[in-house]
């Protein structure tokens, strides 16, 4: 009995330093901030309790609704396009021997660059006067005639594209490392049965990397909630809120609009959403979905 207790103490002894720092830097100030969601604090003056008024306003705020919708699109986009391209890239990579390290390095390369640098590159490329337009215009293709970042129809996906361009190489690395652990004999067996490439992927590769795949889905769903950098730097959420996302709207309300209480309410709702996602994953795991 004593042994178990001391074991418990010891495990906390190892855990607590980093958890303490994490709590102190992130959780504690977040809780303080969330407490502000029932106030109308402007960041300076006196703090006044206003009950659920911020939430009532939020539910009729057209920009907030847009931002929620955009976060959803953002998540779906990242769950599909980068994952599909990364799976393709990783699978094809396992089939080559030559230049493999080089390819891997190239795919991972944008992940090494800072978001400001990546945004600099793509803002330039989308710029009608300097970028891709100067090349495609000569070919008679007018797709880049206006910056994709300044049209309300394309801005969100253009920002998503730049972020994904930087991010997908990371997925390639984690998928390929998982793929290398697939039992070689399974492929040989598939070979003997005359399986096509797609069949090999579908029946051998994919099931073997499933834990990693599910992990990547969870990480993407979590990471797309506070998505901020690329939106903030590339479009600021515009034009006409067409690329507005929750974190950027929160930042705008807190820092530009001096509406700290309202911003905290947005944060509180983002919080609820994350709990639902992680809870869902936990539930699926309990239901033996092997994830």
């Amino acid at each position: 009995m004593n042994n178990i207790r001391s074991e418990k103490v010891a495990s906390w002894f190892f855990l607590s330093p980093i958890l303490f720092i994490h709590f102190f830097v992130i959780a504690f100030p977040s809780i303080l901030s969330l407490a502000l969601c029932f106030t109308d604090w402007n960041g300076f003056g006196k703090i006044q309790f206003i009950g659920f008024q911020n939430f009532q306003e939020l539910f009729s705020d057209r920009v907030f609704k847009k931002a929620v919708w955009h976060n959803l699109i953002w998540t779906i986009f990242f769950l599909t396009v980068p994952i599909a391209v990364a799976l393709l890239g990783a699978f094809v990579l396992t089939g080559v021997k030559r230049f493999q390290l080089l390819y891997r390095f190239i795919f991972f390369f944008p992940y090494i660059l800072a978001s400001v640098v990546n945004c600099l590159i793509w803002k330039y490329l989308f710029h009608p006067k300097y970028g891709l337009n100067t090349f495609f215009d000569d070919l008679g293709i007018t797709f880049f005639e206006n910056s994709l970042l300044t049209q309300k129809e394309t801005s969100l996906l253009a920002v998503g594209f730049v972020d994904a361009w930087h991010f997908w190489g990371f997925l390639v690395v984690i998928y390929i490392t998982a793929m290398y652990q697939v039992d070689e004999s399974l492929y040989e067996a598939a070979e003997i049965e005359g399986a096509s490439k797609w069949q090999k992927f579908r029946y051998v590769t994919f099931p073997s990397i499933r834990p990693m795949f599910v992990f990547s889905i969870l990480i993407i769903m979590i990471w797309s909630v506070p998505a901020f950098d690329y939106v903030y730097i590339l479009t600021g959420g515009g034009p006409a809120y067409s690329s507005e996302v929750l974190a950027n709207y929160l930042h705008f309300q807190a820092f530009r609009n001096m509406n700290v209480g309202y911003a905290s309410a947005i944060g509180a709702l983002m919080f609820v959403y994350v709990f639902i996602i992680t809870g869902l994953f936990g539930l699926l795991r309990k239901l033996d979905w092997e994830i």
Binding site: N146, Q151, P239, N257
Partner: protein, 444 residues
Amino acid sequence: MFIPKLTTLAIVSTLATASIPAIGYAKTVVTWWNYSNEGSGLNAALTEDIQDAFNASQDEIELKIFFKGEDVNEPTRTALLAGAGPDIITSSGSTYVRAYYDGGFLKSLEPYSQKYGWKDKILPWAYNLGVFGNEFYSFPQNYESMIYFYNKTLFEENGWELPTNLNEYESLAQKAKEQNIFPFAYGSSGWQPTHEHLVGNYFNTYAGPDNVYKALIGEKKWTDKEFVDALELLKKHMLDGYWSGSLEKYYANDWDGFSAQITNREAAMMQIGTWGFEIMEGFADKKDDWGWSPLPVLSDFAGNPNYQLSIGGTMSINAASKHPDAAAKVLNWIISDKNRVLEFTAKRNYGEWLLPLKFETSDFSGSVDQRIRDYLVDFAAVTGAGDYGYTTWTFYPSQAGTHIWKDMESVWANDISVSEFLEEQQALWDKARAANELIPVGER
């Protein structure tokens, strides 16, 4: 071996500490946070002509200017909130001063103003913008207004005249477009609040400054017909490609872009703040010549042509400052010499650091561009006669002031109608009025 070394060290360090007072006895250090504009050389100019010049002018105070990035308001606000920050606070306008004042972060400058006679040196409307609860709190760092610039040579070649009413305005735009020239150069890339310049122009030249004034003080609603019509007109012109050809191109166009448009005949005119004088320097190596004029009045009820009043930037003293007297000395040094102010702002092409002092024609040296002097003198005469309007970024409370440009995009995108937009505006004004967060307007 060890001991002698230690002795040397001790001697050296004693000498070092002893020599500090000899080099310069403890000066009072006054810190100042300013926004940074490295590219155009503002940082270097401020360091040299204000900081170093002030430090050389006396030996009690050492002024230190720090550049806090493009947006000085965000770091300042965070620092003030934490009880820190510099002695001299700069902000980008009255909205921030109001918020700092409400938070109790500003020291009243009233005693200094009386001591140094600031009220007599500063233009009354600008001085009044810094008065809260009958006390002076903030010092205008710059004044500006919206005007027209145009390619004079291009106008002469085509026999074009500057418009004086809506009909002429629209037909001139049409004529320019027929020649594949944009009526106006402009764009918002790099500075999203650019839209508010256009909104302000249409409010002040179509709805008219009298109506704007009434709405500012609450005697009229922003949802009234004059304002709706003004913005419907702006929307029509924007979607018609008046600025850089199309809404999308306007969004993508940045400072370098529209500077090139106006100097390269891609655009005929530009309605921009007086900081646009800097752009006109680009004509120096071109065959064309440029001119300026006040904004034309677009409706028959908007009164005479007017200049919109605006403060671009303020200076105040931090309530937590340990050396407010020294900080006030710095401020007084800055405005006490009109020539120095004029020399400095000339270097900034009158776009920055044009302190709203009571300049007279005799204050200007012969080297000042005739057109710029004309503007400065005309501004004083016209506004003195009561023909002035109101810029959004000086007279709007914070949330309405952000909404006016940010959500204008939603109008142009047809997400909301002009009426819905103005209803949102009015609601934000009502909210600010109820919370007593309005900016002092001054009686008209």
